[in-house]
Amino acid sequence: MSYKVEPFMTEVESQWLKRLRKGEEGATRELVEAYASSLRRYLVSMLKNPQDAEELSQDVLLHFLKGLASFRGECSIKTYLFRIAHNLALNHLSSATARYETLPGELSPVAAGGESPHSAVQSGERVEALRKALTGLPPQQRAVVTLKTWLDFTFKEIASVLSLKEGTVKAHYFFGIRSLKKLMEVIDES
């Protein structure tokens, strides 16, 4: 089943929501399977730490399930989930307990701290350098760039998730990508 969604609730999502509310067997599992990986990817970018991202993606799903009864369906499930994720991520970043170490044995989708982008490139890991550079962007730009390039959100969807105007999202995207380009140029030259 495809879960392609618009910023507003589609018929497919409405049906899915009904199934969730009825507690239909497998509906919750489908929710997890449909969105957990995307949420984790987004949160890895926002938090820089795979373990924190995994924990927080669970929290996002729990928040969603808790709020299901009061969810009015004024936006898509996808938008709602990522809005929760974004808010939780910002809270996490502002908390004093935020950790930035990468755990051994993790996939290290986005490394943080320790090795610099320069050294990553020197070891032939341009991809890793790009990921590091992404995590260095301001949170708002990082959120926009991640949602657009890693998760294929439309600008309209991103605007809905971040509660921003679409034009503002486009500006964040442009400046975010341009910052990454400049940083990679510096790295390439070195």
Partner: protein
């Protein structure tokens, strides 16, 4: 139109106004800059982290939820139905907690007779409570697959035993259990 504005329009703003298109047609440096930005965009998309397949991650989540022992987390594997019934009481997963309490002699002690299943030891709630307790016991070396199978079996039990869950929730409510 200046260079920066032209590039921003062309890169992210969608349909370009005529003056932007004219500028780009005549400005080699802008075209090169635009190309470089799109290259970074493409590289970044390729750099998106790949995680283990979602089935495995789902199983991992299920295991985490089981091991957490937190009632509201447990409902994730039981399906939201039990949670909604519980939410109506203002207590997350009250049905599940009640089942747990049944086994542990917890806070549902003042349960009226309607709570005690009429079919004795085959009661779904008693079964679920027994299974839950076992799953949550760290001394039991369950594999993730085992945990998942158990969780699904428990959830199926809840689904088929809707009336009994209503009884559980009703009891918790009637007993003014505050979870």
């Amino acid at each position: 139109m200046n260079h920066e504005r032209a590039i921003e329009y062309a890169f992210a703003a969608g349909p370009m106004p005529a003056d932007c298109k004219t500028h780009l047609d005549g400005c080699e440096s802008c075209r090169l800059e635009l190309e470089a930005l799109r290259k970074i965009e493409g590289e970044l998309a390729e750099a998106a982290p790949r995680f283990p397949d979602e089935r495995n991650w789902t199983e991992g989540l299920t295991k985490t939820l089981l091991e957490s022992g937190e009632p509201e987390r447990m409902t994730l594997i039981h399906g939201p139905a039990s949670w909604f019934r519980a939410a109506a009481l203002g207590a997350a997963a009250a049905g599940f907690v009640a089942a747990m309490a049944l086994l542990t002699g917890g806070p549902v002690a003042p349960a009226p007779s309607s709570y005690i299943a009429t079919n004795g030891s085959s009661s779904i709630s008693q079964e679920a409570a027994r299974e839950s307790s076992y799953l949550l016991n760290s001394e039991n070396a369950y594999t993730t697959a085992d945990l998942l199978a158990k969780a699904e079996a428990m959830a199926a039990g809840y689904e088929s035993g809707g009336d009994e869950i209503d009884d559980l929730v009703g009891t918790v409510n009637g007993g003014n259990w505050n979870g």
